[in-house]
């Protein structure tokens, strides 16, 4: 048989097409019919946010501990998905607040300042689950994203650990998990929210300084709260659409 190069290429490409088609078809056959899972959670019915009342925070560190346990947040190095900062503003120099957060406030705060000497307060921080988050926009592989219900998540199987998102977050909420070499951050306890539970931090907060809020739920007391309080988000000038709403936030907080 006389086979020219042209014949060879023609036959070769035909075989390639058929192999691809067969592989595609086989995959569908092997996958079978998807199992019907009873799932009462409908993402489109929710829009999650968090409410933090700075005036209620006592700096006990319960939220930091609970988050560490609930989400298995890495201890070495000591990273946090949520942490508490102590601000101290000296009235003679109000533009330069002194901020400390020993071990993220996980063991509470020791006495450091004197009563009447400036003002001191605690500010819990966590991922702001921005509606227009800078971190998801810079991901080159589509490993981090905002869900329909407004929670910014990371696909650990897809993350390549390039750290762009860690640099992009204006709130410093992301870190590289040294165990998986992937980016990590607060999930707003998505595994709890979707079961109808509060986040771990809001669950253990003794004073109610942290509250989880569903802005799409008309019966959520959050609407009344937002209407009757002076609310601020962190770094509003960044236009990130941050959804962690602070009551009683001092202008010195960055």
């Amino acid at each position: 048989m006389d086979t020219t190069r042209r014949d060879f290429l023609m036959i070769g490409s035909k075989m390639l097409i058929m192999t691809a088609a067969t592989a595609g078809a086989l995959e569908h056959v092997l996958a079978g019919t998807p199992e019907a899972v009873a799932d009462v959670y409908r993402a489109a019915d929710h829009w999650w946010a968090m409410l933090i009342d700075v005036e209620k925070c006592i700096g006990s560190g319960d939220c930091v501990r609970a988050c560490k346990i609930e989400n298995d947040v890495v201890d070495e190095p000591m990273y946090f998905r949520t942490w508490v900062e102590r601000y101290h503003i000296n009235m003679s120099d109000p533009d330069h607040p002194i901020v400390d957060s020993p071990d993220g406030g996980i063991n509470g705060f020791g006495e450091k300042y004197k009563d009447g000497d400036g003002k001191t307060f605690f500010v819990p921080k966590l991922c702001n689950h921005c509606a227009d988050s800078p971190c998801t926009q810079v991901c080159p592989v589509g490993a981090t994203f905002r869900t329909i219900d407004g929670v910014v998540l990371i696909d650990k199987d897809y993350c390549v650990g390039c750290r762009y998102c860690i640099q992009a977050c204006p709130y410093g909420c992301r870190y590289l998990d040294p165990r998986s070499h992937t980016a990590d951050k607060c999930t707003l306890c998505y595994h709890r929210l979707t079961k109808g539970l509060k986040t771990a931090c809001a669950e253990v907060c003794a004073t109610g300084a942290r509250q989880i809020a569903d802005l799409k739920d008309p019966n959520d007391p959050v609407h009344e709260y937002l209407r009757t309080h002076k609310i601020q988000v962190l770094k509003p000038q960044m236009a990130t659409g941050a959804k962690v709403y602070y009551n009683g936030l001092d202008g010195a907080v960055r």
Partner: protein, 155 residues
Amino acid sequence: MKRSFKDYEHLVRLASIFLIGLLVFAVARAEFVPKDFGTLGHYRAGAIDDIRKRPISYAGRTTCTECHSDVVDEAAPSKHKALPCETCHGPSAKHVGDQEVLPGKLDGKFCVRCHAANTGKPSTHPTVNLADHSDPKDSCTAAGCHKPHDPRPPE
């Protein structure tokens, strides 16, 4: 005829290589990109289910009170009435599934985490200066002064 074919043979060759390249790309893409990528957005939709699969550690106050209604009654007259159980008792989701597994033991010294005086704490929150209040080595509960569920001091 044979002569004119030779004139565009190199074009056919190029086109074939280009086509094969395209095919290899299409096959590789179909192979490597998950089927659910892009169904909800520029991400793998299955990642959401992976994250949702994580087990919980904190059962939540509502679950605790289903069985421990006596504690709810005990705390009712005090300021601790709305306090989440797991703030002091620790994560108890395993205890819900198996009552043999008990939540962490408490030694009565955890009170100070919230109630030790500290300048940062809001003035509305009840705090004590440990040095003046009692022997700081004693726990708040040992002498019978305070019960954690109903911490009102005795008359």
